[in-house]
């Protein structure tokens, strides 16, 4: 009896506030836009009994998805989200790996402090961290003033409101997600393997590529997914740092919903975004399971 209560409370909560809402999105993505409240049809009418339910299902169609596939804007938005997320992930790996590597090589007594320094930004507001770059990247911002002062450039660069600023924003805000799993993998690395490789005639750089990198593979994969998956649906970064030409699907969904008030199309955009995300999420889970098995 107690056990049933314990299971039912969180179960029902999640059903009511996670699964059912998602089913509603799925349903509305199959509905039509209407000038009504709520602004879509059909709505389920139980008063008509079975006939009402039947006509409800008969009225659902894939029209919104046809609309999405026929309009260039959405294709471009999905593709550009994928490419922005992909390149940001690569950049975050290039920036994050050396930091994680150095942390793993640092003396034992430094490590808790270094860990805390990497985790601290997590606790700081995401919005503020993105906002801090607006003042740095703008035309008369800190970066341009600095570069002009050093004489490296003679004209201020336009960085804010371009895709470059979006890349910087994603790498900056998600960097800890990349550093931590790689550090966790590198920390477990057995130093004697490197010594053995060097005794057998490897240079340090060869030993790094032959031993360190493959043994940190699961950390690299985990870090890449942890950056890629949230970056794909990102909304805050492209709307603050990106320009009007920056197309990301999270931003398109937001505008479709709040500016155009087209709920069925916004829902269809959400359903396709989720379908795209399923593949990386499954791959990520497999990698996690594999590394857990390797440990156990």
């Amino acid at each position: 009896m107690r056990r049933a209560f314990l299971i039912l409370v969180p179960y029902l909560w999640l059903l009511a506030l996670f699964l059912i809402p998602f089913l509603i999105v799925l349903k509305i993505s199959l509905s039509d836009t209407a000038l009504a409240i709520p602004p879509y049809t059909p709505t389920l009418d139980f008063s008509e009994g079975w006939a009402g339910i039947k006509s409800f299902f008969a009225d659902l169609d894939l029209e919104n998805f046809w609309f999405l596939s026929s309009d260039d804007l959405y294709w471009k938005a999905y593709l550009s989200s994928l490419s922005i997320a992909f390149y940001s992930t690569i950049l975050a790996l290039i920036v994050g790996y050396p930091i994680a590597y150095a942390m793993a090589q640092a003396p034992n007594e430094w490590r808790p402090t270094l860990m805390m320094l990497v985790i601290l930004p997590f606790w700081t507001s995401f919005l503020i961290r993105v906002y801090s770059w607006m003042g740095i990247l703008s035309q008369d911002g800190f970066l341009n003033q600095f570069l002009l002062w050093t004489g490296l450039i003679s004209e201020p660069l336009t960085i804010l409101n371009t895709n470059t600023a979006v890349y910087i924003g994603i790498v900056y805000t998600y960097l800890p997600f990349m550093i931590l799993p790689i550090y966790a993998a590198l920390e477990k690395l057995d130093e004697s393997l490197l010594e053995a490789a060097e005794d057998l005639g490897c240079s340090r750089i060869q030993a790094f590529w032959i031993i360190t990198v493959p043994l940190s593979k699961s950390g690299i994969i985990a870090g890449c997914f942890l950056v890629f998956i949230p970056a794909l649906g990102e909304f805050v970064i492209p709307s603050l740092l990106g320009g009007s030409k920056t197309l990301m699907i999270g931003k398109v969904l937001w505008e479709e919903f709040f500016n155009n008030r087209d709920w069925p199309v916004a829902s269809a955009v959400a359903v396709i975004l989720l379908l795209i995300l399923i593949i990386p999420i499954i791959l990520f889970q497999r990698n996690e399971q594999k590394s857990r098995e390797a440990e156990g």
Binding site: L14, A102, L120, L127, S138, G233, I281
Partner: protein, 273 residues
């Protein structure tokens, strides 16, 4: 140690400079007396003064705090229950669905979670306001809490609980007297995580809030969309300082606790010998 070369030292310095410089610059410019955020015109705290006279921000901060305290408390209770179910309950009908619903919100893009909750609230005719934000925040935070708590529950020695049951405790007493004190650090960090997630959330709150309740991130977002503003710099500085002090205090406290625990254990070993 052997390998801690100039290369490692450089990557740490450059890496941490990248992570912290933007926030440091923001803090410095919050003390700038000029209205132009990018031109330094001398030290001043006037933006802090203006901030504390801005009713809209103060109201939003109060709403945000209320939402965060209530939702993280609900999320901690629900998340701990969910973790207990996941780790202890063995098989039950719909277990796969349950664990799916625990993990899915962690990777679900915020725009989708926000949209789906909004459509639910409209569907059932619930007016949007502080209650709907609390419901939304509780839902996604409880999943984070349950992940944190279940990792602690997995590593926990079940025989302690069984011993309590053998000695006549009821299941609830065993949980309260034995299990809860042992998993307490995870429950507390789960609460803190839920609290900061709620304070920080912009996207889901934007979908689920109504005209009657605006949170601080929503206010900040609409202000910074128009450009950089010195008041927001001051507000950001306050938020950064609170977090920094909080995290450093928490880590010092936990460090001291672990030192004491080690000392206790050594004393116990010595007493045994």
């Amino acid at each position: 140690m052997r390998r801690f070369s100039w290369f490692n030292a450089t990557s740490l310095t450059v890496g941490f400079a990248f992570l912290y410089l933007p926030m440091i610059i923001l803090v410095i410019y919050s003390f700038n007396s000029s209205k132009l955020v990018t031109v330094w015109a001398g030290f001043s705290t006037k933006w802090y003064g203006e901030l504390f006279q801005n009713e809209a921000f103060l109201n939003a901060a109060w709403v945000t705090l209320k939402v965060a305290v209530v939702s993280s408390t609900f999320a901690t209770v629900l998340g701990t229950m969910a973790a207990y179910v996941m780790v202890r309950s063995g098989r039950f009908l719909g277990r796969t669905l349950f664990s799916g619903m625990i993990y899915a919100p962690l990777v679900m893009p915020e725009v989708i979670t926000g949209l789906s909750l909004l459509l639910l609230f409209i569907g059932i005719g619930l007016d949007r306001g502080i209650v709907t934000i609390i419901l939304a925040h509780t839902t996604f935070s409880m999943c984070y809490v349950s992940v944190v708590v279940s990792s602690r529950l997995v590593s926990f020695d079940r025989s302690l609980e069984e011993a309590a049951l053998d000695l006549g405790c009821s299941a609830f007493e065993a949980f309260r007297l034995v299990t809860l004190p042992i998993i307490a650090p995870a429950v507390i960090s789960g609460w803190l995580l839920a609290f900061t997630l709620s304070l920080d959330d912009l996207v889901i709150a934007s979908f689920t809030s109504g005209p009657s309740a605006t949170t601080l991130p929503i206010k900040i977002f609409s202000a910074v969309r128009l450009g950089v503003s010195p008041e927001i710099n001051a507000l950001s500085t306050i938020m950064i300082s609170i977090v920094t002090v909080g995290v450093i205090t928490a880590s010092l406290v936990s460090k001291r606790a672990s030192v004491r625990q080690q000392a206790d254990e050594q004393a116990a070993v010595r007493a045994d010998g």
